[in-house]
Symmetry: C2
Subunit: 359 residues, 2 copies
Amino acid sequence: MSRVYNFNAGPAALPLEVLENARAELLDFNGTGMSIMEASHRGKVYEDIHNEAIANLREFMDISDDYAVLFLQGGASTQFSMVPMNLLPPGETADYTNSGTWASKAIKEAEKVALINVVADCSKDIPTRVPLASELNLTSNAKYLHVTSNETISGARWNDYPETSCPLVADMSSDILSRHFDISRFGLIYAGAQKNLGPSGLTVVIVRKDLIEGAPDDLPTMMRYSTHIEDNSLYNTPPSFSIYVLALVTRWIKKVGLENLYKQNVEKAAVLYAAIDGSDGWYKGTAVKEFRSDMNVTFRLPSEELEAKFVSEATKSGFIGLKGHRSVGGIRASIYNAVPVEAVNELVKFMNSFMRANG
Amino acid sequence: MSRVYNFNAGPAALPLEVLENARAELLDFNGTGMSIMEASHRGKVYEDIHNEAIANLREFMDISDDYAVLFLQGGASTQFSMVPMNLLPPGETADYTNSGTWASKAIKEAEKVALINVVADCSKDIPTRVPLASELNLTSNAKYLHVTSNETISGARWNDYPETSCPLVADMSSDILSRHFDISRFGLIYAGAQKNLGPSGLTVVIVRKDLIEGAPDDLPTMMRYSTHIEDNSLYNTPPSFSIYVLALVTRWIKKVGLENLYKQNVEKAAVLYAAIDGSDGWYKGTAVKEFRSDMNVTFRLPSEELEAKFVSEATKSGFIGLKGHRSVGGIRASIYNAVPVEAVNELVKFMNSFMRANG
């Protein structure tokens, strides 16, 4: 069996060891005589996995008991609504930064539910970037400031989160557990699992419990964070297999070492950006340098024809997922935690060879 | 490896062949060099699986193009809200039947969103049952009548759905694809996948498209059926692995034959109820005979002590998931499509032997 070099933006590469473990026990989990997919979510077999995943996430991100760690469904797209529904009772407002496609979606959904303020907008800038702290026109009574930590499509990210008097709320779908951050500055973090954490169908939400105390009583039960906090994300049937794979990913992270992983992420991105910057402008990075993402490396070639040829030849050579998002074009290499250093090194070789042949 | 006899209520037993297929290609799906979990939801590799699952469901249930078949997240518990939010614009009303725990939950969520009428309530009846058609106090202008097709906890089901001038809306979580029904009488059907269709984390919704035309514009994007209809359930990242396993389950159904499966379900239930009814009252069925479920067979023993002993000894003998729901106690054997005839036959042997030893 030959595995491809997988640069998909999400669902994305998973650690080989995680897949091997899942395969080994797919018909008989831990000697129980059944697959973890067939286990009741009300039984100890499953609950141990559920709680192990939560405990490991708490350890990795140094999450105190003031916060709940939730396993929900519906992706970041559902969180775009749940966040303001729960955190902004009538009369409350929040600030939003617009840094690109995903931030725009968060804003659009929040505006349906509450009165919010867009305090900076660089969503249409080329080269792509996120706002500067100095550009933010903050509202004094905002309950939170929303940031899209890493824009998966544009390849721009927040390096330093803005200083605020209110808590930050962040969409970390594409960079959670990719680097250090100080949880105490955040009121809520949400992330679809299918990029850095596991398979799709699972959304991780980390929420400071005091912030949801004013949530209106008439919210649908499933849309209330309190429902899921009270029942440890077991109010209804959870996406148990996705949570199980997340648990395996957290075990893999412990084995690799969180610090090693963070260091490796910086190195992987540096290697790829060095190839871009060393090409004398043949490859052009899409994001402003100081906002470059370590997770989604976006760049252009001299023409769209060459980009199409690049993607096509790369695919034939075993590199998949390199086509930029259909809304922006270009090339995107998503190099999440599970993408091995080797894949990045091989991609750089391919890029150099492609440039020599076509430059 | 020894597999247990799995009578879990959901997540529940999956066909062994499905698990074996999933295992065989877990690291390399169809020669792509990656797991289906790692495939982009925007690529042909995944989309073929997605569309195959939809096509097979359409074929099995004879679903016309007037209906959309959707793959959503959040379980039936989310549908309890989405149904009235989309089908009942201001000024519209609907009728609900209360047949037990799950119907009560559907009613509670609908009442948060719209004015609805509970047209019959036998949710507290012992023995358990669903309402009689003659008991329904239908509203003339109701947009739909909601039924919980099979009450997973009580073990009672609708044998014949009521005749109505409006379309039926049904929670079929625990009996979808277990027996024939006439789709043309339904406006909407929803079902969590984790009982008869596949793993948890996936909700199948079948909706007659004309019924949602009046849905308010200000609904959250993810809570609008139209969002998912327009994008073939690919507006955002779907729970792709759960959909893949569902696709494998539909292949297995084709191989077994839908008619054979339906026949087997009747036979499996008959064997189990015969053991109960042939015990001279030592085992007592929980549901009124004419409303007995073919999927969740519920019964009591002479005492709670004996019930605890039954569950404990059954577990030691390799029968799992037999404890009744914590809210009602007793014994429940969930015998969904994937539970083999052999498991039911062995359970009957165990029941007879347990009765002889303790009766």
